[in-house]
Structure formats: structure tokens, C-alpha cells
């Protein structure tokens, strides 16, 4: 049976407990849910907020393409949920949720890491910093570590 896929791009915050519970709701074949929540850091007090710009339409479509790669790679996945926020997010606020359900834990963990690595490098979102001192901040630069994290799945 194909994995149940839920993808949402929205400004609104999400309920991580409810999202994670939904992946196994009413099922008795799910032994493992691996989840990841990405949060806004203030970078040592430097930032007042992050502003996430996204490409409406493509954001959802590209996340779906990455999720379909994951469910092809790990066909035992029973459900995958991705929620990605846009707009202004204050330090401590949630940015992204990825959750993967499977019979066993190895697939769930691997798929969640895979999704995060490729969301970072392929999902059309851009973060702009708002500085705590009121000055206009810079656009966050793409990280080489994120590129390397995505590359390790190509072997």
C-alpha cells in the first residue's frame, strides 16, 4: 500500500503532537515514527526573527517530489508528513516538521534525515535575517554542510 502523504506550506504554526499522532492513528502496523522539528535560533542574541520567503506552488510541488523519492527509496514507509512555514518566525518558533512512519525504526529515521537534507537544498524557501539591533539583515547563505549532507545520499 502506498504511503499516506501529507504536505502543507503555511504561515500558521503547527501542532507537532497532533501531526505525529496522525501518522499512526487507527493503524496497528506502525512500529516507528521518526520526527524532526526545525526551530528558529537567535544566533547568540543577534537575531530578532527570520523571514521565510517561498515560491508558492513550487514549494508544495518540490516537497512532494522529495517525499516521493523517499517513499521510493524506503517502500516500507506507511506515512510521511511535511509541514513548512513561511513568513516571519521569532527565535524559538517552529519552522519545519518532518515525520515518517514505518514498521521498523531504521527506515523511519533514514527517510526523515533524507527529507531534511533535501528540503534544505531543494525546497524553494529563502531565509532573511532580521537583526535584534533593528538593522536590516542579510539573506542567509546556503551552507556547504547542507550540500554535503544531501550529496551523501547519491552513492
Amino acid at each position: 500500500m502506498a504511503a499516506a502523504i501529507s504536505i502543507r506550506v503555511a504561515a500558521a504554526d503547527f501542532d507537532q503532537g497532533a501531526e505525529i499522532a496522525a501518522l499512526s492513528e487507527g493503524r496497528t502496523d506502525v512500529g516507528a515514527v521518526a520526527a524532526f522539528v526545525g526551530l528558529c535560533r537567535d544566533e547568540g542574541g543577534r537575531l530578532a526573527a527570520l523571514e521565510l520567503q517561498h515560491y508558492p506552488g513550487m514549494a508544495e510541488a518540490e516537497i512532494r517530489r522529495v517525499v516521493l523519492e523517499a517513499t521510493t527509496r524506503w517502500p516500507a514507509l506507511t506515512a510521511v508528513t511535511v509541514v513548512h512555514r513561511h513568513g516571519r518566525i521569532a527565535p524559538g518558533g517552529r519552522i519545519v516538521l518532518v515525520a515518517c512512519a514505518s514498521g521498523h525504526r531504521a527506515d523511519a529515521f533514514a527517510a526523515a534525515e533524507f527529507l531534511m537534507d533535501f528540503l534544505k537544498t531543494r525546497a524553494p524557501f529563502w531565509k532573511k535575517e532580521h537583526n535584534a539591533d533593528g538593522t536590516s539583515g542579510d539573506w542567509v547563505e546556503a551552507s556547504h554542510a547542507d550540500d554535503a549532507a544531501a550529496d551523501r545520499w547519491r552513492s
Binding site: 520567503q53 513548512h84 531534511m116 524553494p124
Partner: protein
């Protein structure tokens, strides 16, 4: 041959430097690939030149799919130009 209209959308510092979010253009017939499009746009004014001065830093999506610079844009409805993504 009809002149093809192409919707361009810009994100992040590409948008800020060009100064607009989106526009519709009619590129000349020698603009075939995404790379051709970037070079043609860069000649349209200082704001475009500033945004697109390092073409290798520009990512492209053609009809909302990631594309290489050598991918054709002829026949596309929408081309997006943006810096490397930083979501997640």
C-alpha cells in the same frame, strides 16, 4: 512564428536587487536556454546586472521544476530565478 511571452518570477536577493517580484517579457529568438535568458536579462539595466552579475550563483526553475542553465526556456510559461535555497 509567434512571439512567446514568458513570465519571470524572482526570489530573495534576486528579487530585491532587480526590484520587482515578477514581470512578463518577450525574449529575442536567440534566447534558447536558461543561461541565455540570464545573460539577456543582465543587459536590461543596472538593477538586472547587479542581480545577475554572477550567473553561477543563480538557480533556475522552469515551470516550477528545478532546471540547469542549459535547459531550454522556449515554450515555458514561467521561469524563476533565485539564489541557492535555505529552507528547512
Amino acid at each position: 512564428m509567434t512571439i512567446a511571452q514568458l513570465r519571470l518570477v524572482y526570489f530573495a536577493w534576486v528579487r530585491e536587487r532587480i526590484g520587482i517580484e515578477q514581470e512578463t517579457v518577450m525574449p529575442p529568438s536567440d534566447v534558447v536556454t536558461a543561461g541565455d535568458l540570464i545573460r539577456w536579462l543582465a543587459g536590461r539595466g543596472d538593477n538586472y546586472a547587479h542581480a545577475l552579475q554572477s550567473p553561477e550563483a543563480i538557480r533556475v526553475a522552469v515551470d516550477q521544476m528545478h532546471a540547469d542553465h542549459d535547459q531550454p526556456v522556449t515554450g515555458a510559461r514561467e521561469v524563476a530565478l533565485f539564489p541557492p535555497m535555505t529552507g528547512g
